[in-house]
């Protein structure tokens, strides 16, 4: 039983396909701003039936429709809850993992569509950061692009928090990997 609950307390950032001895240095998700914005939208959408109900309670009671309206309102909140949970799941499963050997990009597009790509640190040549716009500057988030030695597509971290710190960390790991070769 203790083992079962340990996943909520002490789960090292292990992932599928992790090599023996490979250490996770950074586990990055998009900035929480995007999920907070969605949450605010849903709170407003969920608050509408509550406000309407409160202002029409005597009338609905008189018309014997109070219970029916309460049922509809709770159904609406249930739908919003499921919608928000779905968004939160997609947000949580969309991750970039920086290990001491490679960078892994795991993108979730719906329940059954997942794309995982990886880049070895030895192939990292240059890392650039792009922070554009007042919101990104105030909240310290932006895009980070990793350029590789080959002609393959560039590796992109989209709207991640503190991209400069992530860049420094990647460059540090990449230079130590280059030194080993």
């Amino acid at each position: 039983m203790n083992n079962l609950f340990s996943i909520f307390k002490e789960s090292a950032n292990t992932f599928e396909g992790q090599e023996p001895g490979e250490k996770v240095v950074l586990l990055i998700r998009r900035h929480p701003f995007f999920i907070i914005i969605r949450f605010c939208g849903l709170v407003i959408a969920g608050g509408v039936p509550v406000v309407l109900l409160m202002s029409y309670v005597p009338y609905l009671q008189e018309q014997q429709l109070l219970h029916f309206t309460l049922w509809l309102a709770s159904l609406w909140i249930l739908v919003l809850w499921s919608f928000f949970s779905y968004s939160l799941t997609m947000y949580t499963l969309d991750v970039w993992i920086v290990t001491d050997r490679r960078i892994i990009d795991s993108t979730q597009h719906g329940f059954f569509n997942r794309m995982i790509s990886e880049l070895h640190m030895t192939r990292v040549q240059d890392v650039s950061v792009h922070i554009g716009g007042p919101i990104q500057s105030i909240l310290h988030f932006g895009d980070l692009e990793v350029q590789t030695a080959g002609t393959e597509e560039h590796f992109k971290f989209i709207q991640i928090p503190h991209p400069e710190q992530v860049k420094d960390e990647i460059m540090k790991i990449a230079s130590s990997q280059h030194a080993k070769i």
């Binding site: 307390k9 499921s82 949580t92 979730q108």
Partner: protein, 88 residues
Amino acid sequence: MEFLTPSLIFILLAILVLFVYVVLNFLIFYHLIRFGIGTQPKKIGIVFIAGSMMLFCINALFFLVVDFSLIPEQLGKVFGGIFTLTHL
């Protein structure tokens, strides 16, 4: 097709919606627990499933106290009144 009464159709639809809801909840919970990296997704999964159960119970309670046989008539009265006012 005489056995397909409106109340039976309503019950079948309710069962179908419930089935879709349960499958959706299972998929969300499974993805968070199975594919989530670190402790955060697991905690979110537990909060989500607890919230879903609570909201479902509240919804089921309201559903049980509603007398659906009265609803069409009551709605007719309310919307009939509104339409009359609009027309005037």
